[in-house]
Symmetry: C2
Subunit: 155 residues, 2 copies
């Protein structure tokens, strides 16, 4: 089977990102054969902890289509998405994920994706970052106000 | 115990977000007593599936400090963060999460946070969004290039 041109592009973006001072990750969001968004890791250079290749590509694709809903689109990424990016992929309603490396490969290259997957799998009270709960009743009031709004838009 | 002024602010941002056409979520990132970033859900209005309150607040805080590393900062949010936002909180190295509502409360209000937590807990081959793997060897070459770069910056 010949390599997908989109996965090849994601890998080229990853390699070019290293030269450009970014992390070694690249991603492309496509609709059929049309490229909607490209992304490279820009965490350090953009001073933005959320600027992973997949997030950048998803935001670019959403801007290109003018909607938050990327249903039916696919993402090609140089490495298995971290929990943040996988969550974004679910919210964007992408149809399929294509990736080259695995989370264990990223760990071997010094990245915490695998550790964060393990953290999310733990019960909240056993995690490294504590979750403290308060004011739930006032929070529920906000959701009630949301549900009472007739023109609310689901996403 | 009197309510935290930051959690109160997060809840006020959530309520105001509903009026402004956003989702019913608000968040604040603080360093000690200093507010670094505020966020409201802007998914529909910004046409950006990643524009959750916590992501918006983290990006604002990182811009304010001029770094991706928010170590020691805390986040106050109207609801338990979804997997995307929890991942972002780990990457940002926040020290503590304070929230009002739970993922089950968000589910009752029509949001998919709880379902996405369940998806991430499943083995990749059992998930609703398939992961297709190819070109791992070429992906590993990119990581080798990264590890060979003497001035690479971890994040």
């Amino acid at each position: 089977m010949s390599p997908s041109p989109f996965l090849t592009l994601a890998l080229e973006l990853a390699r070019a990102s290293i030269e450009a001072g970014g992390g070694p990750f690249g991603a492309v969001v496509v609709q059929g054969k049309r490229i909607l968004g490209r992304g490279q890791n820009r965490v350090v250079s953009s001073r933005d902890p959320t600027a992973h290749a997949e997030i950048v590509a998803i935001r670019a694709a959403a801007a290109e289509l003018g909607t938050h809903d990327l249903q039916g689109c696919e993402i090609f990424t140089s490495c298995e998405p971290c929990p943040m990016c996988l969550g974004a992929i679910y919210w964007a309603r992408l149809a399929r994920i294509h990736h080259a490396c695995h989370r264990a490969d990223a760990a071997a290259a010094g990245f915490d994706d695998q550790e964060f997957y393990a953290e999310l799998a733990r019960p909240p009270e056993e995690r490294a970052i504590p979750l403290l709960v308060a004011e739930r009743e006032r929070g529920l009031e906000v959701f009630r106000a949301w549900l009472a709004k007739p023109d609310r838009r689901r996403y």
